[in-house]
């Protein structure tokens, strides 16, 4: 794809004027960093960061069978979700492999499903193909929404000054319709950083103004580079790394988003049930590198002389100052193994996830 074909978010000009380094991410021209990944990462951990994640896709399920359609498509039991509640979920193929990981919002009259930008077209096809028999409209509203994420311990304080909505009463994974700086906004207490924070869905026309105001109020612009190191420290999966069509959500360790006892069957439920009974094909582990070097995506994992898996994500953790990573390995792998860093075996050991957990007030 040539650069001219890249999609741009409503905040593209803001990124340019801030001197961001822009890269092709899933066909979108996105800011990977402004000042630097470490500084942005630390700003989110200690203060507040502002991300443009407008590339994410928004799919709305409307109509009499909307609930049945969503219930069929996602691994979470959405009948347990109240209106105003958001839920992290996987979407699976019949064989249990992962189509995408998504956030499902139950709204008063419909469901909003937020999908990864890289999977938008594939997801829409999967959603429509598998709900043909139902009375439901599956609408791609991705272009109607800008999405800002304000994340960090100071996020609530900064945002509260812009809205009448009482944020102190908005619990994690809850959302509320309100106004921020006068702009109609869905305010969701969710994020992808391991910090407290909010995701704001608003009109593309209102986004640049709010972006500038939030920066003025003290949020630090943060790019996809910091977003990746933050989510990795928080032990969160990234589709294309930890999750893909060859990996089930159980293998990727997101069992909490899979309700195998759901009354209405979801696509892949049978396969996942069987996998749970018969044992996982592989498992996701978090690890720290002991020797010199940084493990990266797709580096082989070895135990003894045997290849036992591969690194799915790895970086130098800015918060911990250590090389950390996630790997999909054979279920029998013990707590010690080696990562092949450019053909050099380096010792690593498994650690409990997440690598970083914020102190809750």
């Amino acid at each position: 794809m040539s650069e001219g074909d890249l999609r741009r978010t409503p905040l593209y000009e803001e990124h340019k004027s801030l001197g961001a380094r822009l890269v092709d991410f899933a066909g979108w021209e996105m800011p990977v960093q402004y000042e630097g990944i470490k500084a942005e990462h630390n700003a989110v951990r200690n203060h507040a960061g502002l991300f443009d994640v407008s590339h994410m896709g928004e799919v709305v399920f409307r109509g009499p069978d909307a609930e049945e359609a969503v219930q069929r498509l996602v691994t979470r039991d959405v009948t347990r979700q109240e209106t105003g509640q958001a839920g992290y979920s996987a979407v699976c193929y019949e064989d249990g492999g992962t189509v995408d990981d998504v956030i499902v919002y139950r709204r008063p009259d419909d469901f909003l499903v937020v999908v990864n930008a890289s999977n938008r077209e594939k997801d829409l096809e999967h959603f429509r193909e598998n709900t043909k028999d139902l009375d439901v409209e599956v609408a791609d509203e991705s272009d109607d929404w800008a999405l800002l994420a304000v994340q960090g311990p100071e996020a609530a304080g900064i945002l509260q000054d812009f809205t009448d909505a009482d944020l102190s009463n908005l619990k994690p994974f809850r959302f509320v319709e309100g106004a921020i700086g006068g702009a109609k906004t869905s305010i969701s207490r969710t994020g992808y950083t391991g910090e407290d924070g909010f995701e704001l869905y608003l009109s593309p026309d209102d986004a640049p103004h709010l972006w500038r105001e939030l920066l003025k109020a003290g949020a630090t612009p943060a790019g996809l580079g910091a977003r990746d190191t933050l989510r990795l420290e928080a032990g969160m999966c990234l589709y294309g790394n930890e999750l893909d069509p060859e990996t089930t959500p159980l293998e990727a360790g997101i069992d909490f988003a899979v309700h195998l006892d759901k009354e209405q069957e979801f696509i892949g439920q049978e396969a996942l049930r069987r996998e749970k009974e018969e044992g996982l094909g592989k498992k996701l582990v978090g690890f720290e590198v002991e020797g010199k070097g940084i493990a990266r995506h797709d580096y082989p994992v070895r135990a003894g002389e045997e290849n036992v898996g591969r690194v799915t994500s790895g970086t130098l953790s800015p918060t911990l100052g250590k090389a950390i990573g996630l790997a999909l390995v054979s279920p029998g792998v013990e707590d010690r193994f080696e990562v092949l860093i450019r053909d050099r075996p380096v010792e690593a050991h498994a650690v409990q996830l997440p690598f970083y957990k914020r102190e809750k007030k």
């Binding site: 990944i37 470490k38 580079g225 190191t229 940084i294 130098l316």
Partner: protein, 126 residues
């Protein structure tokens, strides 16, 4: 972009300072800027020898790994061990405290770029 006049450059974004038979090698200001925060430098062994064009180590930023190439053949006489603990020196001072290795030159290798040629190369590449 800072491109000191007195240094020579490679198309893989290293700089070289030659004094008598010793060549000091590092990465350019442009290279460190492209990489972002450097978090790890894999240095060669003392006394290791390299042919011109060999990879002698790697520089890693949070996001990416980049191989280091020497345009000159020779034996390693000094490595910048400060980089083990402070790899960020490469970002802060790429032509000074962020130097990477010193070689005793045995083969001057192929032609290097002047500062103005390198600047032009970066512009065309960009």
């Amino acid at each position: 972009m800072n491109v000191p006049e007195e240094l020579q450059y490679t198309r893989s974004h290293e700089w070289v300072r030659t004094e008598d038979d010793t060549a000091t090698i590092g990465i350019t200001d442009h290279a460190q800027d492209e990489l972002g925060d450097v978090v790890f430098v894999e240095l060669p062994e003392q006394d290791a020898t390299f042919d011109a064009g060999d990879s002698f180590g790697t520089v890693e930023s949070v996001k990416a790994v980049s191989d280091l190439y020497t345009p000159i053949g020779g034996e390693v006489v000094e490595i910048n061990e400060t980089l083990n603990d402070s790899p960020e020196k490469i970002n802060e001072d790429p032509y000074g405290e962020g130097w990477i290795v010193k070689l005793r030159v045995s083969d001057e290798g192929s032609e290097l770029l002047s500062a103005s040629d390198y600047e032009q190369f970066v512009e065309e590449e960009g």
